[in-house]
Structures are given as structure tokens and as C-alpha cells.
Symmetry: C2
Subunit: 340 residues, 2 copies
């Protein structure tokens, strides 16, 4: 069942022309574990990297389960499409390693967006590590941007490390909250509140005005206690009801204000650079570890050394030195200068 | 000025016999950047690793500058020596990279302990990275334990990442606080409060009883809000005045209770294993990165690729792949199976 893949040229032209089928196929290459697919994907991405950073906007969105993320994204997405934007929705869901695509798997949760030719929705890639899943999403961002989608929303569940991954690939971080105070503090880690640039109390429906005000006051206070951000932006706390369609335009205004402010003070460009550098280092570390742990001689020795480390028979440093020597001895010695 | 070093045999015998000169020399080898010193240090440590974990107790101690850490350590240390213990005091101070040994550099701050034959004090090693400084301290722990010091206090300043390093090499974590409430919250990060097993409000002098009670109440409340620990231990909040000599025995009782509890439920041994495994991984990653970044071909290409990543001319992943290929190509190909 080998299919003939389009050529790099066909991919590049097709994606630039917003061909959704070729875009989808290119993302499948990014998500593939096959080495030849990876090489092809890198070639395609390299050819497509000529967009000024300021042309696109990468928005990270998180919030506890039940906060109404899908409804919010649908509502904000349709609002933007009406204003001429083209919107892509991606996700990072580490749990999708088990049940592929538990976030966004069900596109029917975003009925209008799914049906719009101006939107592109892709469920979370699967993978056996958050690092791998995040890498795939990061590359997918580059592809959807090249296909002309200018606003990229990246959704994640508010339960842990995945927020840091989303934060490391987005320009702005939006935290959705529920009305009422107190309970939220339990569900949302302080680190996530600290990362948020804009906080929106969703489900602030007409009959829950008091609860919504309570939550806003609580989080306004919480954000005031945080140290100033490198972006020089003071977090804003808003209320909205994606269901009732209220407040969503105000959230967008705040997102626009954030982009304007950070474009002007240089943080936007600086942050994109920092993120690229971070991903470069991460990719190097991951690749290096793979090279090391796949090495037959390392594999053969690893189990025994680890066992001896755990039982205190050898120091972790001596064990590591032994394993590194095994690896290093397969590299021509002359390549290395003697360490001082 | 080359000196003839003692043999491994001499080091091993000398350290086991608590020879302070040989112990100090062995630690100097651990701290040395010279490859031959490192090899020798590893040999010595490997020969000395036969102590049951439960024979020793590694205590991490932190607190903001001004909280009285030195006075506290002197007071607790003398209390323990009177009860037949042998006490080692080490430190991790990342700032010592600049001004060597700013913590504990001045032994006169611990006059009695310094003078005691039952105590061994060593200032923070210097180093250009926290990882390097931490590794040296971790190895020094093994040496002082082999020399018969059963209680190891590892001090750090309460200002950042160094707490995580100390936490990753100790059995218990003690946080010293100042009387009064409110201010402390500013200086001490929540993550550090979360790591603490025992919190002691130091400087709870006779004339500051009310302020001390206020601080205790505040932190009792804070610790109650934290999720349960893997050790199944509920953090205790105590008051003491190292200066006036009050409450220090209660802090020791709490430390003993912690050790008893965790020895009994298996966490103590489990944690030591987990730490050894963590250090093994860390040492591998550090060594691997060193091998990679020292590679002449990698060095030659790195700057240019990083520049292109930062200016968006190449994706971080493509750049990493290129650099990894350069590295990999110097290793015989046949060693690797083809990735799936």
C-alpha cells in the first residue's frame, strides 16, 4: 500500500496556494515516525520559511476541562473570519498518546468553524512523549502559516506540563476561567496563571454576573501580585460568554492590544527569536539522546550499569563516565582535543 | 609545581580512617577540572560506596539571606556533636562562580563547629554552571560519608534554582523563616515552600513571640493547602532561636521523626534510588552535550546555523538535523540500525 508522494515542489506550491489536501498530507509527514518522511517534511518546511513574523499571530489557549474552550474557540474563530482573517486551530494533548486526539477529535464540537473554508482544524498529534508531540505541533504551525492562515490558536488542557510547551511556541497566552472564586485556585496551577497575558472568565452568562465579577476581582488581585513581565504587558482580566456571544470581541481587542504593544517594544520579535533558539537546543538534545541510547554498545551496557547505580554499587557519575566512554570510543579519537 | 598525589589505596584507607587531610585532598580532586583528577576521584568514590543508606542523613537547609542559617547550623551541629554525631557542612552557592565561596567562605561564622574535630566544613565549590557545582557537591557527600560523617547539612541561599539542586541530593528539606507574616511570601518562592518537609521560624527570640506565632500560623495554613507529599509526611512548622538556643532540639526531633517515618514506609530508600537514577541521567546528558559541542565539525557549523535559526531562515528542527548529521557521520554507520 505504498502511495506515490507528491514532490517537494508540488507540496511547496500547493501549500502556498492553500491546497488543504496537500497541507494535510504535509502535516501527516511531520507527524510520521518514518525517517524518509521526516527528511521530506524538513525540506518542505525549509522552503516555506519566508514569512515576516508579524504577519501571523500564535495564540495559546488553556483552561480546565469544562471551561468551554471549544465553544470559545468556535466563537472567536467565527468572529475573526467575519473580519477577513484565516484561522487555524491546533492542539497539544499529551493524553492523545493513548486515545488519539481526545482534544478536537470530535470536530462537531466546532461545527461552524469546521464547515468554513477560512478555517483549518487539526487534532493533537499523538506521540509517546510531550516533547515529540510539541515538536510536531511546532512544525505544523509553520506549515499552516505558509498556507495563509494568519491566526493560529493552539489549545491545551489545563492540567500540567503541556501548558509550558504551548507557551514556548506562542506569542500570547490566554487562560480561560470559570465564574466564582476559590474553586479555580485548586484546579489551575500558579505557574499557569503566571504565564497568562490575558485571563477571560468564560461562561459569564447574564444570570451569573455576580459570580463572574467575583472571579474577575480574584484574578485581578492575583495578577497584580505577580512580578512584571519581560513583555512589559500588564495582564488583563476580562469576562465573556462564548455561548451567549458576549465579551468575545473584547477578548480579541485585548489580544490585538497585546500584539501592538509587543510589536512596538520589540518583545514580539525578541520572543520569536528566543523560542526558535529554545527549539533548536531542544531538537539537538533530543536527537543526541536518541543517537546515544540507540547505540548498540550503550544499549548492551545500560541496564547493568543502571542497576548498579540504583543499588549503590557504583556512583552515578562513574557509571555515566563508563557509558560515555563506550560511546566516545566509537568516534575517531583524533576528532577531540584533550580536555583541559 | 606538580605534587605527587597519594595512590587510590592511600586515599581509600585514609578517608575510611577519617584522615581530614586526605579527605580534603580527595574533595579537591572532585572539584578539579582536570581529566586525570576526575578519573582518580571516580576511582576513589567507587571504592568507598558500601555504606547502607540509612546510616547517614542528608539534610538540605535553605532560607533567605539574613535568616541566620550559619548560626542555626552551628547551633544544630554542636547539639548533634554532643550526642555523638559527626557532622559535615557543605554548601551550594551558584554565585561562588564569581566570588569563590561566598557561603561558608568565612568559617569564623561557625566558630565552634570549625574548631571541633567531630565536624567538617567545606565551602561551596565554584563552577561555571549550577549543574557542575551540584555534581561536585553530590560527590563530596559520598566522600564525607565514607569518612564517617553521619549527618550532612547542605546549605544554600534561598534565591532560586540552587534549592532544586539541593533538594535532589538530600533526604529532607528544611526551610528557615523569619518571624512576622507577609514579607516572607515575597522573598520565598512557592515552589520552595512546597519542597520543605520542616519549616522553622528562626530568630523567634523571647521578645518576638507574637511575630513568631504569626509566621507559624501563616505557614501552617500555607502548608495545609499543599497537595500531599509522596513521602506521606505532613510538613511541620516550628519556632526556634538559634541565637538563644531555644527550639533547636525540637527541630532535630522533627528531623528524626521524618527519618523514622520515611525509613519505615520505604520512602527514604526509594528517594535515594530515585536521586541516584536522576544523577545518572543528568551526568549522561551533561557528558553527551560536552562531547557534542566540543566536536570540531559541530563547533565549526554551530554559529552559522544558530544565526539562520534566529533570523528564521531555517527551521530549528532542520538546523538541528543538519548538525546532528555532521556529528553522526563521524561515528561508523554500521553501528546504527536504520531508524523505523
Amino acid at each position: 500500500m505504498r502511495r506515490v508522494l507528491p514532490t517537494v515542489e508540488q507540496f511547496v506550491e500547493g501549500i502556498r496556494a492553500s491546497n488543504r489536501v496537500l497541507l494535510g498530507q504535509a502535516i501527516t509527514l511531520v507527524e510520521s515516525a518514518r525517517a524518509d518522511h521526516q527528511v521530506l517534511a524538513q525540506e518542505i518546511i525549509s522552503r516555506l520559511l519566508d514569512l515576516p513574523a508579524s504577519d501571523t499571530y500564535r495564540i495559546g489557549i488553556t483552561g480546565s476541562p469544562g471551561v468551554g474552550k471549544s465553544t470559545f474557540i468556535e466563537s472567536l474563530g467565527m468572529y475573526l473570519i467575519e473580519r477577513g482573517h484565516r484561522v487555524a486551530v491546533l492542539a497539544i494533548d499529551p493524553s492523545s498518546a493513548v486515545s488519539r486526539g481526545s482534544i478536537l477529535g470530535d470536530k462537531t464540537r466546532m461545527e461552524q468553524l469546521s464547515a468554513s473554508g477560512m478555517a483549518f482544524i487539526r487534532p493533537s498529534p499523538s506521540g509517546d512523549s510531550l516533547g515529540g508531540v510539541a515538536r510536531k505541533t511546532r512544525e505544523t504551525i509553520l506549515l499552516v502559516e505558509a498556507a495563509g492562515f494568519d491566526t493560529i490558536m493552539i489549545e491545551t488542557v489545563g492540567v500540567g506540563q503541556s501548558e509550558y510547551a504551548v507557551h514556548s511556541m506562542t506569542d500570547v497566552f490566554l487562560l480561560l476561567l470559570l465564574p466564582g472564586a476559590g474553586d479555580e485556585l485548586q484546579g489551575i496551577k500558579r505557574g499557569i496563571v503566571e504565564m497568562a497575558d490575558i485571563l477571560a472568565v468564560n461562561k459569564s452568562d447574564a444570570d451569573r454576573v455576580a459570580l463572574a465579577a467575583q472571579a474577575r476581582a480574584h484574578y485581578l488581585n492575583a495578577t497584580h501580585l505577580l512580578p512584571a513581565k519581560a513583555s512589559e504587558w500588564s495582564p488583563r482580566v476580562l469576562a465573556c460568554s462564548a455561548q451567549e456571544g458576549t465579551g468575545v470581541s473584547e477578548v480579541w481587542s485585548a489580544l490585538e492590544a497585546y500584539k501592538d504593544t509587543t510589536l512596538e517594544n520589540g518583545y514580539f520579535a525578541e520572543n520569536r527569536k528566543k523560542q526558535a533558539s529554545h527549539w533548536f537546543r531542544e531538537a539537538l538534545e533530543q536527537g543526541l539522546a536518541q543517537l546515544f541510547y540507540q547505540h548498540p554498545a550503550v544499549k548492551e551496557r545500560y541496564g547493568n550499569l543502571e542497576e548498579r547505580v540504583l543499588t549503590g554499587k557504583i556512583s552515578p557519575f562513574a557509571a555515566a563516565a563508563e557509558l560515555l566512554d563506550i560511546f566516545k570510543n566509537t568516534i575517531p579519537h583524533t576528532l577531540y582535543t584533550v580536555p583541559k
